[in-house]
Structure formats: structure tokens, C-alpha cells
């Protein structure tokens, strides 16, 4: 009976779901096709149409079924894999290798990613310069564009960027869904503070060495993007560290714990995003009148954002990335998307609709380029 009440509240009728999808349909059409769909290359045209349909179907089902996380995760995981494919494909075409050379560093041709941002802060403040061998403006993944994208997404979504925008998060999100039950069930609460310790260390070390130390030494995603050529003991050590961390924190531990362990234990940007949850209008709220303290939400949360004490107190911590897993798991619709200022338990549908539109639109547009490139590449491979 509870389940029936819950889904009746959250899901919409077929017609209403189509109506809610219409704005997404129109806006994504404009952005993905540029307003002028080009079918001169059939593979490219087919890829574009497939991606356009995929994002809108997923959004439709979010409204039609009342579920959020599973449809979000589909696009999120495909985005992560597509971006790796796009980067690797580009590097192999241009450089015939996944590794970047000394010449690429000297000519400042390294694509910028948002994980560099924490390390840029202190040097930018004190030396008024950016410590990264990339392009300030122009070219692929230039520094200015990535900073603007991340800044706006963080202001709007807060730590929601980690579940709706980060093109690396899909990796450990995907691996955390393998298997029905966690092998490791009990993890100390202390570890969720690790990203702050990592943030402190990388900010200090980057400032002192004038080098993005996280990227140089411990970014696990070098394993699926690009890395420095192995030409010395030091570069071999770095490659070993990347591969070990990717294997451990992105594959093995998420499978064993069903948690996003890289995002929870290592990512320094996650620490900054956690703090940014204070400035975003969107948050998750707990309707104490509906909550029966079954703590299902605590078990499913992939980022250690919920504890039993928090649920009893009726609050969700700043670690929440608004992925929707707890919302989908709750049989009483007690935990729900909310807007700051609106009391918990009220205007649930309205808050959810606004949040979904904002977050999904960002993810759909941000990811479409990489996914289209990937689909295009796969179509060319098959046909």
C-alpha cells in the first residue's frame, strides 16, 4: 500500500510526462543539432538522432515512472565512458599514443579538466598565474571554458555536479552497481573526511611545487584518459599509482562496497563541491511526518551523505550529491527533492520537477558532444 501511495504521488500520466518532456525536447534539439540538423554524413546524423532520442526518453521515464536515479545513472555512465573513448580516440589519431609528450607540455596543449581547479587557487591568488600547461582560451577543453562550466554548475547544483556533471563520476557510479549486495558492509565514518585531507595536501603541494600535484601523481582517471610518457623511474611510478588507484578505488572497492569510493575518499574537488552545497538552492529534505526510520536510504546512499542520526534529526548532510538513490529507495516518499526556503514535506513534486529540469538539462547538453562522437565512432566500426 505504501509503495502504491509513493508511486502515485511521484509518477505522472503518459500525457503529463510528455508535456513535461517537451521543454527538454525543444532545448536539447536546439543545442544538439544547432537548430539545423545535418544528415550529410548518415552515421553522424544517426548518432545525433540516437543521442537526442536517448536523453529525451530517459527524461520522459523520470517523470513517467517517478524514479530518478536509474535513468540519471544510464546517461551519467554512458557520458563517462564516451568521454574516455573520445579522448583516447583523439589522442590515438593525432599522436598514435595515449600518452602526452614533452612537446605537448611545452606547447601547452594539455586538455584542462575541472579536477585541476583546487590546485589552481593558491598559485592564482599569489602569483596571478595558472599552473597548468593548457590553453587559456580557444582549442579543446580550454581553461576558461572549463572554469566557467564548473563554476556555474557548482553554483546551481552544488555537490549535484558530482552526480549530474562530472565526466569521471560515471565510472565508479557504474562499478558500484555491479552485484546485488555489498561484500564490505561496515566502513568507518572517518574516511568520508579524506577528500578534505587530500584537498589540503594537494593545495599546499601544488602551491609549493607550482605543479598540479593531484594530476601529476594520483589522479586515477589518467588510466582512462591520457598520461605522461613513461621514460623514467618517476614516470613509471606515476603510471603505477594511476593504474592501482583506478583499479582499487574505481573498480574493486565500488563493486565490494556498492559505494562511490573514489568520489567519497579521494576526489579533492568533491570536498569543494561538498562546501558548495551551502550555496545551491536545491537540497534533499526529510519529511519527518512520513519517515518511519527504516533507514533504507542510509544503506543505498553511495556517498556516505546519510546517517541514522541525520535521519532521526530530519536532515541530509552536505555530502549529498542529489543522485536520487535514496529518494527512489524510500517507500514513503519521506526523503524528497526540495528547494531551500520551502519546508520539508511540502511542494515535493514542484521541487523535483524544477531540480530535474535544471540538472538533467545540464547533463544532457554537457554530455551530448562526447556521446555523439562515441556513437558515431561505433557506427563507423560496425558498418
Amino acid at each position: 500500500m505504501d509503495n502504491a501511495i509513493k508511486t502515485a504521488v511521484m509518477r505522472k500520466s503518459f500525457g503529463k510526462s510528455l508535456l513535461y518532456t517537451l521543454p527538454m525536447f525543444l532545448i536539447t534539439f536546439m543545442f544538439i543539432t544547432g537548430g539545423k540538423p545535418n544528415f550529410s554524413d548518415p552515421a553522424s546524423g544517426l548518432a545525433m538522432v540516437s543521442v537526442f532520442l536517448m536523453v529525451n526518453v530517459l527524461y520522459f521515464f523520470m517523470h513517467f515512472t517517478g524514479k530518478t536515479d536509474r535513468y540519471r545513472a544510464i546517461l551519467f555512465i554512458i557520458f563517462a565512458m564516451s568521454l574516455s573513448y573520445t579522448l583516447i580516440h583523439n589522442m590515438l589519431e593525432v599522436r598514435k599514443s595515449m600518452s602526452f609528450s614533452q612537446a605537448d607540455i611545452l606547447e601547452c596543449k594539455i586538455p584542462f579538466c575541472h579536477l585541476v581547479i583546487p590546485m589552481m587557487i593558491l598559485p592564482a591568488a599569489f602569483t596571478k598565474s595558472i599552473i597548468f600547461p593548457g590553453s587559456i582560451i580557444g582549442g579543446f577543453a580550454n581553461i576558461s571554458s572549463m572554469v566557467v562550466l564548473w563554476l556555474v554548475a557548482t553554483l546551481v547544483l552544488g555537490r549535484g555536479f558530482c552526480s549530474w556533471g562530472c565526466f569521471y563520476g560515471g565510472w565508479d557510479d557504474g562499478f558500484s552497481r555491479i552485484g546485488r549486495r555489498p561484500v564490505i558492509k561496515k566502513i568507518s565514518e572517518l574516511w568520508k573526511w579524506m577528500p578534505f585531507a587530500v584537498l589540503l595536501m594537494v593545495m599546499l603541494s601544488a602551491a609549493v611545487t607550482m605543479m598540479p600535484t593531484y594530476c601529476s601523481w594520483i589522479c586515477p582517471f589518467k588510466a582512462v584518459t591520457e598520461f605522461e610518457q613513461v621514460t623514467s623511474v618517476e614516470s613509471a611510478a606515476k603510471a603505477g599509482i594511476f593504474l592501482s588507484l583506478f583499479g582499487g578505488l574505481v573498480i574493486v572497492l565500488p563493486v565490494m562496497t556498492k559505494k562511490r569510493t573514489q568520489c567519497s575518499f579521494l576526489c579533492p574537488l568533491g570536498a569543494i563541491s561538498t562546501l558548495s552545497n551551502k550555496i545551491t538552492p536545491f537540497s534533499l529534505k526529510i519529511d519527518k511526518n512520513s519517515c518511519n526510520e527504516c533507514f533504507k536510504c542510509v544503506g543505498v546512499c553511495p556517498l556516505f551523505a546519510l546517517t541514522k542520526d541525520d535521519i532521526k534529526a530530519g536532515k541530509v548532510s552536505l555530502f549529498c550529491s542529489k543522485c536520487g538513490k535514496c529518494v527512489d529507495a524510500c517507500s514513503r516518499n519521506a526523503i524528497h527533492y526540495g528547494i531551500k526556503g520551502i519546508p520539508a514535506g511540502t511542494m515535493k513534486n514542484f521541487s523535483r520537477n524544477i531540480f530535474l529540469f535544471v540538472s538533467f538539462l545540464f547533463m544532457a547538453i554537457f554530455s551530448s558532444g562526447a556521446i555523439i562522437t562515441t556513437f558515431h565512432g561505433l557506427l563507423k566500426l560496425i558498418f
Binding site: 532545448i27 543545442f31 609528450s101 614533452q102 612537446a103 607540455i105 611545452l106 606547447e107 601547452c108 593558491l122 598559485p123 592564482a124 591568488a125 599569489f126 602569483t127 596571478k128 598565474s129 595558472i130 599552473i131 597548468f132 600547461p133 593548457g134 587559456i136 582560451i137 580550454n142 581553461i143 576558461s144 571554458s145 572554469v147 566557467v148 562550466l149 556555474v152 553554483l155 546551481v156 602551491a207 609549493v208 607550482m210 545551491t280 538552492p281 536545491f282 528547494i339 531551500k340 526556503g341 520551502i342 519546508p343 521541487s351 524544477i354 531540480f355 529540469f357 535544471v358 538539462l361 545540464f362 547538453i365
Partner: protein, 148 residues
């Protein structure tokens, strides 16, 4: 008060909605504006420093950049000087470099582009070793380690 909070929250949420809608079409403009901020320039440790001197001979141009000792709070005791060759480069590059413009050569460098060999002959005791010597899209670049 309660109503005011609700109105404020909803307004803020709608503002964010508009922000996301205009983000992507306005990305180029916003990026251009951000790129003009005072701190949005690459550190000389990555750009190689400003060009200090240019020597042109036989269709080949050599840029001798200014030495880079940039640190976090103050200059470091060790740094480098970058040399860039572009144009039509010979198979063997041999140059004597005066990077500090005191009229005396500081080091000689020999680059065998075919065998990818670089030999540094330091004259000044401030010149230490070759940090990088590599072919680039424009020709060839070398970074030589220096101390102050």
C-alpha cells in the same frame, strides 16, 4: 516570514534554471570575459617565459627566452632558460647562447635532430644540465637548467 522564504527559495531556483539555459549559448562570451581576468595567464614555468632575444640566420629563427625562476612566494634558486628554434632547421643545430645579455656566452648547445641527441657544454657555472630537448610542432625546443 515563512512565505517570504518560500518566494525567495523559488526565485533563486528559477534564477538557476535561467542560468543553466543561458550557460551553453553564452559559454564563448563568458569564457572570453573570464580569460581577461588578471590571474588568467599561464605561469612562465609552463610557457617558457617571455622572448628575450631573437636571432635569425639562414631561414632559421632562434628565440632565447628570459630565464624563469618563478616560485610561489618568491623566486627560486633554480630555474631554466628555454630556447626555441623555428623555420627551416638544419640537421645539426649548433649555437652558443648568452641568455643573460652580458656579452659573454653562457653555454654551447649541439642538437643532432636525426639521432635525437643533445649535448650541452656549459661555460658559465650557473648552467647545469638539459631538462628537456624535444621536437615540437614549430621546430625544436630545449630547456636548460640554471641556478641563480
Amino acid at each position: 516570514m515563512k512565505k517570504a522564504k518560500i518566494v525567495a527559495g523559488i526565485s533563486w531556483a528559477f534564477f538557476c534554471l535561467i542560468l543553466i539555459i543561458i550557460l551553453f549559448p553564452g559559454l564563448t562570451g563568458l569564457s572570453n570575459s573570464v580569460s581577461k581576468l588578471p590571474f588568467m595567464k599561464l605561469n612562465p614555468r609552463y610557457t617558457g617565459g617571455e622572448i628575450g632575444n631573437q636571432i635569425i640566420s639562414a631561414g632559421c629563427t632562434l628565440d632565447i627566452r628570459k630565464p624563469v625562476f618563478n616560485g610561489f612566494l618568491k623566486e627560486r634558486s633554480s630555474g631554466f632558460v628555454q630556447l626555441d628554434w623555428h623555420g627551416s632547421l638544419p640537421e645539426i643545430i649548433k649555437d652558443s647562447i648568452d641568455y643573460d645579455h652580458d656579452g659573454k656566452n653562457d653555454f654551447c648547445i649541439l642538437i643532432d635532430r636525426n639521432n635525437l641527441k643533445t649535448v650541452l657544454d656549459p661555460i658559465s657555472n650557473k648552467v647545469k644540465s638539459v631538462a628537456v630537448s624535444t621536437q615540437t610542432s614549430y621546430g625544436w625546443a630545449v630547456r636548460v637548467r640554471l641556478i641563480k
